[in-house]
């Protein structure tokens, strides 16, 4: 039962991370002013026109977007690791990132407006996983999970080839840098509207995961055992894939491809709350959100240029992962 206080602590950590993210920037805002401005906003007042503009137009949307993307990727990773009974699985396993990436870079190639690029990325992410799922259903096999993963690899590779093709076709001076930057992930262009378009999708996707948390956890015992314990495996698996795909596609469509979060965060959470999915899920959501808020704060303040998020998460994630490995216990413990 020690999981409950830890989740509460993680919630506090997320609030702290969001506060730090709101304070740090080219124009630093002291914590007192951040809180003051928020309280004034709640009362419908203006705190200071200058601070309000920076906080509510620029910094807070970005902090909220980072929290949403981090929460979404970590939740999807935790769900897939449980579903596929494999701690090395990330949200990309069924090709959602590759698919969304292909759609988005295609949008960049066609010089579409930002909102259309995001929409195209979101839709192709969903379509890719739908193709993978349909393919796995057609290739009926006794090992449904294996076929699903292999279909994901195949379709993901195709989408990857598509991305390479777009890169070759792209204008090397304007489009190619934009494509490269997008594929490394960034929240630099975030606007208030982006938060409003992503938040409902992420929440709608997280809801079924939260509701079915216990049965999803039982799936980690394998199909036969889960069925014998009374779980409708096909239905629950379908829900997990649909929900995880929805939140990953929504996240990737605004942030670009940010690696490592979905793989790493559940591993950081399990030593704290244990392997049970009904505890790993809320802890992953909170830690993923806090982690990406801090990483994004670093990305926009550590250097004079924006550092791509995917670069930072890999730089931080790889050594952290090795450290987790070196602690002696198996990482997924």
């Amino acid at each position: 039962m020690r999981a409950v206080p830890i989740v509460a602590l993680l919630a506090l950590a997320l609030l702290a991370a969001m506060l730090v993210g709101s304070m740090v920037g080219p124009y630093p805002i002291p914590a007192g002013d951040v809180i003051g401005a928020l309280l004034a906003r709640l009362r419908g007042d203006t705190y200071s026109p200058h601070i309000d503009t920076i906080l509510f137009q620029i910094r807070l949307p970005r902090v909220l977007a980072a929290a949403l993307v981090g929460a979404a990727l970590a939740a999807a990773g935790a769900s897939y690791q449980t579903l596929f009974r494999n701690p090395l699985v990330s949200p990309d396993i069924l090709g959602v990132s590759a698919g969304a990436g292909f759609g988005a870079v295609l949008g960049i190639l066609l010089s579409l407006p930002v909102i259309a690029i995001q929409g195209l990325g979101f839709v192709t992410g969903l379509v890719t996983v739908a193709i993978v799922y349909a393919l796995a259903r057609t290739l009926r096999s006794q090992n449904e999970v294996l076929v699903l993963v292999l279909a994901g690899i195949v379709v993901g590779a195709l989408a990857g080839a598509g991305i390479s093709l777009v890169k070759i076709l792209a204008d090397p001076y304007n489009q190619l840098p934009a494509i490269t930057f997008w594929l490394l992930g960034s929240l630099s262009g975030i606007k208030v509207d982006d938060v409003w378009s992503v938040a409902p999708l992420v929440i709608v996707g997280l809801l079924p995961l939260a509701l079915l948390r216990w049965r999803i956890g039982v799936l980690s015992l394998g199909d036969d055992e889960a069925r014998a314990l009374g779980v409708n495996v096909g239905f629950v698996r379908g829900v997990v894939i649909a929900a995880a795909t929805l939140i990953t596609a929504a996240a990737v469509s605004v942030s670009g491809v940010v690696g490592w979060i979905g793989l790493m965060i559940p591993h950081m959470v399990r030593p704290l709350v244990g392997p049970r999915y009904d505890r790993v899920l809320p802890a992953s959501i909170l830690m993923g959100a806090a982690f990406l808020v801090l990483v994004d704060t670093l990305a926009r303040s550590a250097a004079r240029i924006e550092i791509p998020l995917g670069l930072l998460t890999a730089l931080i994630g790889a050594p952290l992962f090795v450290w987790l490995l070196a602690r002696g216990r198996r990482v997924w413990s």
Binding site: R215, L229, R276
Partner: protein, 255 residues
């Protein structure tokens, strides 16, 4: 309670065995024997409704297995798989709690009552002290008992056990068999598979032997576990002897 009638088992591409008739009721132990690959596991999967019967029927309390929901089935039949190392480091209590799944609402997690039931199940098997241990880090026999405790927590009157004593040392084997006997006496119906005719002789009220794609023998241990039957089924000459103490011992026949 559980009845199979003219059952054919297997997969769409491969028929494993057919013409299987068997039944097990409360307070009975049905022991399933057969050579490796004869279809014991396939039969279990069919009895549990995990794969469809190719022919014939499996009925539980008179209702076809195929017509029952997963949840309804899990409240009647509990499955005890062979203990394996798991990907995730669940505690013994976590695993036993999963036995409560069929009694939980679709969106619920275990309540205090479910925790109590899980603790009681561990207590029934005298392994309450293992509750907070990691299930991957206890002995094979303890892990097998943990899975039996999960089946008890499932509150199903029928237990299906897949080779519960395989790969256990002598002490653990006796411990598990002892618990199975206690369950039988408490009125559970038990189906379990084994490679050891002596176990079947000691525990079973009925024995089913599958070999060569059919039910090679079915009846009381005395009727089925005979030298000629076992010799034919396993393809080696076997002798069944009664020792002075009244126990039966199966061994190779040397000529």
């Amino acid at each position: 309670m559980l009845q199979a009638h003219q059952l054919a088992i297997g997969y769409p591409q491969r028929r494993v065995a057919e013409g299987i008739d068997l039944a097990v009721g409360r307070g009975e132990v049905l022991c399933l024997l057969g050579p490796n690959g004869a279809g014991k596991t396939t039969l279990f999967k069919t009895l549990l409704g995990l794969i469809p019967a190719l022919d014939g029927t499996v009925e539980i309390d008179g209702k076809p297995v195929a017509s029952l929901s997963r949840q309804a089935l899990a409240r009647t039949v509990a499955y005890v798989p062979q203990a394996q190392v798991m990907e995730f480091a669940y505690t013994v209590l976590d695993l036993v709690l999963m036995g409560r799944t069929a009694h939980l609402g679709p969106f619920a997690a275990p309540s205090m009552a479910d925790y109590n039931r899980a603790h009681a199940a561990l207590d029934e098997l005298d392994i309450l002290d293992l509750a907070d241990r990691e299930a991957n880090r206890i002995s094979g026999g303890q892990r097998q008992l943990c899975l039996i405790a999960r089946a008890l927590a499932q509150d199903a009157p029928l237990l299906v056990m897949d080779e519960p004593t395989a790969s256990l040392d002598l002490g653990n084997r006796f411990l598990v068999l002892d618990r199975v006997r206690a369950l039988r006496e408490r009125g559970f119906g038990v189906v379990f598979s084994t490679h050891d005719p002596d176990q079947a002789r000691e525990l079973a009220t009925r024995v089913a032997v599958i070999a060569d794609g059919r039910l090679a023998a079915y009846g009381t241990p005395g009727e089925t576990l005979t030298g000629p039957t076992l010799s034919a089924v396993y393809g080696v000459p076997v002798i069944v002897e009664r020792t002075e103490s009244g126990r039966y011992v199966v061994g190779p026949l040397r000529t």
